[in-house]
Amino acid sequence: MKLIINDEEKDIAGAISVKDVVDSMKLVPEKIVVELNHRILKTEEWKSSSVKDNDRIEIVSFVGGG
């Protein structure tokens, strides 16, 4: 699966859903927000949001403090 993640082309083998992408990149779900093709997803939508070749994914990762 060829995806554009944060403007970089990435090959994520076997990914069907956004959740698969997050898991295969070993990201911490509690710290990130995912946008799929310009729509921000709620975490509970990750599993049901399927991905296809050339989809654009933006991943924002937070750190604490304020």
Binding site: E30, K31, I32, V33, E35, H38, R39, I40, L41, K42, T43, E58, V60, S61, F62, V63, G64, G65, G66
Partner: protein, 202 residues
């Protein structure tokens, strides 16, 4: 127009002040970021606010938050609103003492044009972006302003048309990287600056 607002006209045109004054601002969190964002925005002329925070002022907040010793024990929303009114007595502040969760977040900021995410914890930052990211509001979030190192610069990261993250996006707050006034206030000021630029150039 009160004396403070007349003073603003030395630096802003009537039209600029009008744009600023009609903007409805939401600030989620009145700690290191929120109390200082409020300060910067009221001084710039903003006068319509909704602020949310669940905490009381503690002595250990005073290292970076815009409160004073005699306010220890006071609700942060009240101390923040008081400070804002000391600058501009005609400022309108809707203040809610609550903790934002996925169950209640939809009840807030509905009529706001600009919302600032000014919480300290990652969970709330994520909640704010997931909730308001596609709302059409200008959303400004803070991420990464802890510690003493300036090797990691505080940046303005435009995520998309209406979403900006201000911070170094790498330095997590912790024992080695405490939240200290210089970088926290710098981050808060830059968050306010993002909104000012967008509002005045639109």
């Amino acid at each position: 127009m009160n004396e403070f607002e007349s003073g603003l006209l030395k630096y802003l045109t009537q039209e600029q002040l009008f744009k600023i004054q009609r903007t409805k601002v939401g600030i989620a969190g009145c700690g290191g970021l929120g109390s200082n964002i409020a300060n910067a925005l009221v001084r710039t002329g903003f006068k319509d606010f909704e602020i949310i925070d669940n905490d009381k002022v503690e002595a250990n907040n005073l290292n970076r938050q815009n409160f004073f010793l005699d306010e220890v024990g006071d609700k942060k929303i009240e101390a923040t609103a008081k400070r804002m009114k000391q600058i501009n007595p005609d400022v309108k502040v809707k203040a809610f003492k609550t903790y934002l969760t996925s169950d209640n977040v939809q009840e807030f900021f509905n009529d706001r044009n600009v919302v600032f995410e000014a919480f300290d914890n990652v969970k709330s930052k994520k909640l704010m972006l997931e909730t308001f990211g596609d709302s059409g509001k200008l959303l400004v979030l803070g991420s990464g302003m802890a510690g003493i190192s300036n090797k990691t610069l505080i940046n303005i990261h435009k995520v998309k048309e209406n979403i900006y993250i201000v911070g170094d996006e790498t330095t997590n707050v912790g024992k080695d990287n405490p939240p200290l006034a210089p970088r926290v206030i710098a981050c808060a000021a830059m968050m306010a600056s993002v909104a000012v630029e967008i509002i005045l150039t639109k």
